[in-house]
C-alpha cells in the first residue's frame, strides 16, 4: 500500500481481544477496512471516537503501539474476465503465482436484487444422478446444500455435479478446506479441462478461521460480475458452510454478544440468508445457482447451522450410506428440491411427478417393513415385495454412481414398479397408468 503517504497513521491501540482491537480515530466510516501492522481488519463498532476493528488474521502479537491505517473503503474485489481460471485467497489476492487482476473494483456484499426484477427459475440442471434429477431436480437460480456427515464424499459429488451441469462459470468458495481437498478440486477441474471456466477463492485449514467470513461474498461478487455483466449462468460451490458459521460464532462470542441456540449468534439466520439469497435468475438471462455443503455432526439436522440453513435454502440433498446395497445414496426422505415443481412434468416427461412420488412412497413402505423385521415380526407378502423393490431402487436409482438421462430414470422407475407391484398399489393417475405401465410383468 505505497500510495498512502498522506494517510494518517494511528499508533495507540487502547484495547485488544482475541479477534478485535480498539483505538481512538476520527472520520471513520462503518464497515471500512483498516490495516493493523500489515494485517487486514474491518470496522465493526464505532462509539464516539472509539473504533473497534475485527482483525481477520487474529490479534496474536499485536502490540498497543501497532500502526493502524484506514483504507477508506469496505472489502472489495477487482472484477473482469481475467478472474477466469484463477485461484485467490479470502482477500481476493492471487495464490496461484499469476499476476494481479485488472478490472473494476467493487465492494463485496453488495445490494440485493429487487424481488420484482427477479425471474422465476425455470432451467433444469441435469446431473445424471437420479437421486438428484429424478427425486430432487435442480433448477438454475436455486440454492441448495448437501447435508452430510464429515465422512461422506460430498466434495467429490459436488465436483461431479459442477462438471456435469452446463454452467458457463463455476466459482468455488472454499472455507476451511484441507489442503488435500483444495488439491482435489484443482486436479478434477484441471483433468476435466475446465480450469478456464473456474474461479476459486480458498481459505484452507492453514489460514486463520476468521478470514473465511470473506469467502462467500468474494465468490458471489465474482459470480454477479459474470451473471450480470456477461449474462452467464454461474454455479457457485460453497464448502463447508458449517465452518463459515463456526467462524461467525467465534467473532460474535469474542465481541460478547448474547449467543442463541448452539452458541451461534442470534443473527445466524440473516447472516446465512444474505449469502444464499444471492442465488437468482436475472431477467437478462444470467443466473447464479448456489450448491453448498453443510456438514452435520452425527446426522443431527436440528443443530442451529443445518436448521437455519434448511429454513433458507430451497431444499437440501442428504447423503447417506445404504448398508443394504453398500453404496452412498441421496436419501429420498430427507432430501428435497423445492424448485423441482417448476420443471418436472413440464421440462421433463409428464409422468415424472407421479413416478417420483409413487416410488418414494413405496420406499417408505419398505422402511416400515424393515422396522417390523427388526422388531421380530413376520412380514406379509406385500412387505417382502417392498423390500425387494427398495434394494433395486436404491441400487439402480438412488446411488450416487448412477449417470443416466431423465427419461431413462423414469423408464427404470416404471420397470421397478411393474416388477414388484400391482397397478392399484402404486396410486398413479389412471391416464398415466394406461400409457406407461409395463405391459407384461
Amino acid at each position: 500500500m505505497a500510495t498512502k503517504a498522506f494517510q494518517k497513521i494511528y499508533t495507540k491501540v487502547t484495547q485488544i481481544t482475541k479477534a478485535t482491537c480498539t483505538l481512538r480515530a476520527e472520520g471513520i466510516g462503518y464497515d471500512e477496512l483498516a490495516e493493523i501492522n500489515g494485517r487486514l481488519a474491518q470496522v465493526v463498532k464505532i462509539i464516539g471516537d472509539d473504533v473497534t476493528l475485527q482483525v481477520f488474521g487474529g490479534t496474536e502479537g499485536i502490540p498497543t503501539n501497532a500502526e493502524v491505517t484506514f483504507l477508506g473503503k469496505s472489502p472489495s474485489l477487482k472484477v473482469s474476465d481475467q478472474l477466469a481460471g484463477r485461484f485467490f485467497n479470502a482477500f481476493g489476492d492471487p495464490i496461484d503465482g499469476g499476476p494481479d487482476i485488472e478490472g473494476q473494483e467493487v465492494a463485496i456484499g453488495g445490494p440485493s436484487v429487487n424481488p420484482v426484477r427477479r425471474k422465476q427459475p425455470s432451467e433444469l440442471i441435469g446431473t445424471g444422478i437420479a437421486g438428484i434429477d429424478l427425486n430432487n431436480t435442480l433448477v438454475s437460480g436455486q440454492k441448495i446444500p448437501f447435508f452430510a456427515d464429515p465422512d461422506q464424499p460430498f466434495n467429490q459429488v459436488m465436483a461431479m455435479v459442477a462438471l456435469r451441469a452446463k454452467a458457463d462459470k463455476i466459482i468455488l468458495g472454499g472455507m476451511g478446506l484441507t489442503n488435500d481437498d483444495y488439491l482435489f478440486f484443482r486436479n478434477v477441474f484441471d483433468n476435466a479441462g475446465a480450469l478456464d471456466r473456474i474461479v476459486s477463492f480458498v481459505n484452507t485449514t492453514e489460514n486463520p478461521p476468521v478470514e473465511r467470513l470473506l469467502v462467500p461474498d468474494m465468490a458471489l461478487t465474482a459470480a454477479e460480475y459474470f451473471a450480470v455483466e456477461k449474462n452467464e449462468s454461474v454455479l457457485v460451490l460453497l464448502t463447508d458452510m458449517t465452518l463459515y458459521a463456526d467462524a461467525l460464532s467465534i467473532v460474535s462470542n469474542r465481541m460478547d454478544q448474547i449467543p442463541s441456540k448452539d452458541s451461534m449468534p442470534g443473527s445466524l439466520y440473516s447472516d446465512l440468508a444474505k449469502i444464499y439469497e444471492k442465488a437468482v435468475q436475472f431477467p437478462s438471462g444470467g443466473s447464479i445457482t448456489i450448491i453448498a455443503v453443510t456438514t452435520l455432526s452425527g446426522g443431527d439436522i436440528t443443530h442451529a447451522i443445518p436448521d437455519n440453513t434448511g429454513y433458507i435454502t430451497e431444499g437440501q440433498l442428504f447423503l447417506r450410506r445404504d448398508s443394504d446395497v453398500g453404496k452412498v445414496i441421496v436419501d429420498p426422505f430427507r432430501s428435497l428440491s423445492r424448485l423441482k415443481q417448476l420443471v418436472i412434468g413440464d421440462k421433463t416427461r409428464e409422468d415424472h411427478p407421479q413416478v417420483m412420488n409413487a416410488a418414494i412412497r413405496l420406499f417408505a413402505d419398505a422402511a416400515s417393513a424393515k422396522t417390523k423385521l427388526e422388531n421380530g415380526f413376520d412380514l406379509t407378502e406385500y412387505d417382502q415385495r417392498t423390500l425387494d423393490f427398495a434394494k433395486e431402487y436404491s441400487n439402480d436409482l438412488l446411488a450416487i454412481d448412477v449417470n443416466i438421462g431423465t427419461d431413462d430414470m423414469l423408464d427404470t422407475g416404471w420397470k421397478l414398479l411393474g416388477r414388484h407391484f400391482k397397478p392399484e398399489e402404486v396410486g398413479i393417475k389412471q391416464e398415466l397408468m394406461n400409457k406407461y405401465w409395463p405391459k407384461e410383468a
Binding site: 476520527e26 472520520g27 471513520i28 466510516g29 462503518y30 464497515d31 471500512e32 465493526v44 463498532k45 464505532i46 462509539i47 464516539g48 471516537d49 469496505s74 453488495g110 445490494p111 440485493s112 429487487n114 424481488p115 420484482v116 427477479r118 422465476q120 437460480g141 450480470v228 454478544q257 448474547i258 442463541s260 441456540k261 442470534g266 443473527s267 439466520y269 440473516s270 440468508a273 444474505k274 439469497e277 444471492k278 436475472f282 443443530h303 442451529a304 436448521d307 429454513y311 433458507i312 430451497e314 437440501q316 426422505f333 428435497l336 424448485l339 415443481q341 412412497r361 417408505a364 417390523k372 422388531n375 415380526f377 413376520d378 406379509t380 400391482k422 392399484e424 396410486g427 393417475k429 389412471q430
Partner: protein, 585 residues
C-alpha cells in the same frame, strides 16, 4: 423547526443519535450519509441520546453525520391503487425502483398520483360523519374502494360538501368537512396512519362465526377457520408452510388477500408475482393479482424493515376491512419477525428472555394477533381481517418461545408434522394435534348448520375419533405384529387411512385436486363416512390392506377428476362395485 441530531455511535444497524430537541419513541428519522438519506426508527431514548434502528445498511456511516427527525411514526399511505401493488416492508413500491438491484435510500411513492378514479359520492352535505365514515367510493379492480373520513379525525364532523360523481386524482379534494368548532377540513382520497397502531374505527368486534372457505379439505372440513379468525401454521423447514399459505391465498373466499413475505425466500415471492397475474380468482373470475397486495421483505432485505413489514401489511388489511370487505392476511414467517426483534434487543443489550428473545415477545405477538377480527362498522356493515401466520420453530421443536406465545393467542392451530411430510402426506397437518377453537363456538355451530346441515359438526367429531382410533390401532400393530391383533383392528386402521388419503391429503399441484369447494367437500365426506360405517367381511388380515388400497385408489381418482363429470362418475361406479364385493349385507 424539527429536531436535528448527530450520529454518536454505530454497531451494525443500531445507531446512537444525539438529538437537539424532543424525540418520540418510534419516531422516524433520516441519517444523512454522503448524500443518501437512510430511514430509521427510534427504539429507545436515554437523555439526549436516541437509539435508532436503521432500515438499511449503515456501511460508510460516520460519527457526526447529520440526522433529521420527522415528528411522526412509521406510517403507511392509504388510498385507491394499493391492490396489485408489490411493496417492500416500508410500503415503497418496488416496481417504481430503477435497476435490478435495490439501492440504499431509494424510497418510492406507494400510490399513483396521476391515476384518475371514477368517484361516486356516498355522503351528502349536512350528513354527520366521524373517522372512517364512507364519503364516497371508487371502483378498484372490481371492488368498492370506500373513501373514508381520515382515521385521525377525532369527534363528529358535518359534511359541508362532497364533489359530484366524476373522475378525480387521489390528491384532489373530494369533500369538505366542518368540525364542532366550525373549522373546515379538506379531505382527499389519501390518508396516512401509523402502522403500529390498530385502526379501531368500528362499532363492535363480536366473536367471529362465519366459515371462511379455503378449498383446503383438512382446514375447511376438519379444522375450519372463520372470517376474522386467527390461525397459525408451525412446522419444521420443508414441511409445507409456504405451499399451504399460497394455496389458501389462491383459493380463499376473500375480497382482498394481503401477503406479507417476512424474512423468507425471494423466489417464493417471485412465484406469486409470476403466477397470480395469470391465475383466476375462483370466486369472481378476475385475475388473482387484482385482489392481492404483496408486502415483500425477503430474508436478504434489511432486518429492521422486516419487523415493520408485518405491521405495514396488517394496517393495509385493517384499512380494507373498514370498507366492509373480507380481508385475508398471511405472514410467512412470523418467526423471522421475532428474530428481527431479537437481533435488535441483543444489540441494545437488553436483558434476554428465553432463547435470547426479548422479554415482551409474548405481549408483542398477542397485540399483533388481536388486530385481526370480524367487526361491525359504525354504519352497520361488517368487515373482517382473518390472519394466518406461519411459525418456523428452531430445530422443529414446538417448545420454543414463538410457537408457545402464538399458541396462546391464535384460535386455529395447524401443526405440520415432519413424519407426514417425509411420507409425502401433504398437506402435512397433523389431524389429531391440530385444532380449530371455532368448532366449539355455538355461533359457528349455528352458522354451519344453516350453511351445510346440522349433522356436520357431529360428523367431523366422529371422523376425528376414527382417525384417533386408527392411530391407536396402528401403534398396537407395531407392538404386537400384524397377526397379534384381530382382523377387526386392521379394518379399523384402514378406515382411518381412507380418511387420511382421501380427505386429509390433497395435492397442491394438481389442477383439480388443489381446490375443493365446500359442496364437494361435503359430498366426499359423506362418501367416506359411508365407507367407515360399512361392515366388511375378511378372512384374514392379509386381504384387508390390498382391498382398501383399491378403495383408496378409486376415491383418489375421483379427487383428481372434475366434480360430477362422467369420469368422476365412472370412478364412483367402480368404487361402489368394490365396496359391494366385501360389504356385509
Amino acid at each position: 423547526m424539527s429536531t436535528q441530531g448527530k450520529v454518536k455511535g454505530i454497531i451494525a444497524n443500531l445507531v446512537t443519535v444525539e438529538a437537539d430537541g424532543p424525540v418520540a419513541q418510534n419516531e422516524i428519522c433520516y441519517l444523512q450519509t454522503r448524500g443518501t438519506d437512510l430511514m430509521a426508527e427510534v427504539i429507545k431514548v436515554n437523555g439526549a441520546n436516541a437509539f435508532v434502528q436503521v432500515f438499511e445498511s449503515t456501511r460508510g456511516l460516520k460519527i457526526g453525520d447529520p440526522v433529521r427527525f420527522t415528528g411522526h411514526m412509521l406510517e403507511v399511505t392509504l388510498g385507491p391503487g394499493i391492490l396489485s401493488k408489490n411493496y417492500d416492508g416500508l410500503q415503497n413500491d418496488l416496481d417504481k425502483m430503477d435497476g435490478v438491484f435495490l439501492k440504499r435510500g431509494d424510497y418510492t411513492n406507494p400510490l399513483d398520483d396521476d391515476t384518475l378514479w371514477n368517484f361516486k359520492p356516498l355522503a351528502k352535505a349536512g350528513d354527520e360523519v366521524e373517522a372512517a365514515s364512507w364519503l364516497g367510493e371508487v371502483n378498484e379492480n372490481g371492488k368498492p374502494h370506500r373513501i373514508m373520513v381520515p382515521f385521525v379525525f377525532e369527534g363528529k364532523y358535518t359534511v359541508k360538501s362532497v364533489v359530484e360523481a366524476g373522475e378525480y386524482k387521489i390528491n384532489d379534494t373530494i369533500a369538505v368537512l366542518v368540525d364542532a368548532d366550525g373549522k373546515e377540513h379538506n379531505v382527499t382520497m389519501v390518508q396516512k396512519w401509523p402502522v403500529k397502531k390498530a385502526i379501531t374505527a368500528y362499532r363492535e368486534k363480536p366473536r367471529p362465526f362465519k366459515l371462511l372457505e379455503t378449498g383446503v379439505r383438512t382446514i375447511d372440513t376438519i379444522n375450519p377457520i372463520v372470517e376474522g379468525g386467527t390461525g397459525f401454521i408451525p412446522g419444521p423447514f420443508g414441511t409445507g408452510k409456504t405451499v399451504l399459505q399460497h394455496a389458501i391465498s389462491k383459493q380463499a373466499e376473500a375480497d382482498i388477500v394481503v401477503i406479507a413475505a417476512c424474512g423468507e425466500r425471494a423466489n417464493e415471492v417471485v412465484e406469486i408475482f409470476t403466477e397470480f397475474p395469470e391465475l383466476d380468482d375462483p370466486h369472481t373470475g378476475r385475475k388473482l393479482m387484482e385482489r392481492t397486495i404483496i408486502v415483500a421483505n425477503t430474508s436478504n432485505m434489511p432486518v429492521a424493515a422486516r419487523e415493520a413489514s408485518v405491521y405495514t401489511a396488517m394496517t393495509l388489511s385493517e384499512y380494507y376491512r373498514s370498507m366492509g370487505l373480507k380481508v385475508l392476511m398471511m405472514a410467512d414467517s412470523t418467526s423471522r419477525w421475532a428474530q428481527a426483534l431479537r437481533e435488535m434487543s441483543n444489540r441494545l443489550e437488553e436483558l434476554p428472555g428465553q432463547d435470547a428473545f426479548p422479554m415482551d415477545l409474548s405481549a408483542v405477538i398477542a397485540n399483533f394477533y388481536a388486530r385481526a377480527g370480524f367487526v361491525y362498522l359504525n354504519n352497520g356493515e361488517s368487515g373482517s381481517v382473518t390472519f394466518i401466520g406461519t411459525v418456523s420453530p428452531a430445530g422443529g421443536n414446538l417448545k420454543e418461545p414463538v410457537t408457545e406465545s402464538t399458541k396462546k393467542v391464535a384460535r386455529c392451530f395447524y401443526a405440520l408434522q415432519q413424519s407426514r411430510a417425509d411420507g409425502k402426506r401433504y398437506p402435512a397437518i397433523n389431524p389429531i394435534e391440530s385444532y380449530s377453537k371455532y368448532l366449539e363456538y355455538p355461533e359457528f355451530e349455528e352458522y354451519i348448520a344453516k350453511r351445510i346441515g346440522d349433522k356436520w359438526i357431529a360428523s367431523i367429531n366422529e371422523l376425528k375419533t376414527i382417525l384417533l382410533r386408527g392411530q391407536e390401532v396402528s401403534e398396537q400393530i407395531n407392538i404386537l405384529g400384524d397377526d397379534g391383533v384381530p382382523v377387526e383392528y386392521h379394518i379399523r386402521f384402514w378406515k382411518s387411512e381412507v380418511i387420511d388419503f382421501v380427505i386429509l391429503q390433497q395435492d397442491a399441484f394438481d389442477k383439480v385436486d388443489m381446490n375443493t369447494p365446500l359442496e364437494r367437500q361435503e359430498y366426499m365426506l359423506n362418501k367416506v363416512m359411508g365407507i367407515c360405517h360399512t361392515d366388511f367381511q375378511f378372512e384374514s388380515f392379509t386381504e384387508v390392506g390390498s382391498y382398501f388400497k383399491r378403495v383408496i385408489n378409486n376415491l383418489r381418482q375421483m379427487n383428481y377428476s372434475e366434480f360430477e363429470t362422467d369420469e368422476f362418475k365412472k370412478f364412483e361406479e367402480e368404487l361402489n362395485q368394490i365396496i359391494n364385493e366385501r360389504k356385509v349385507a
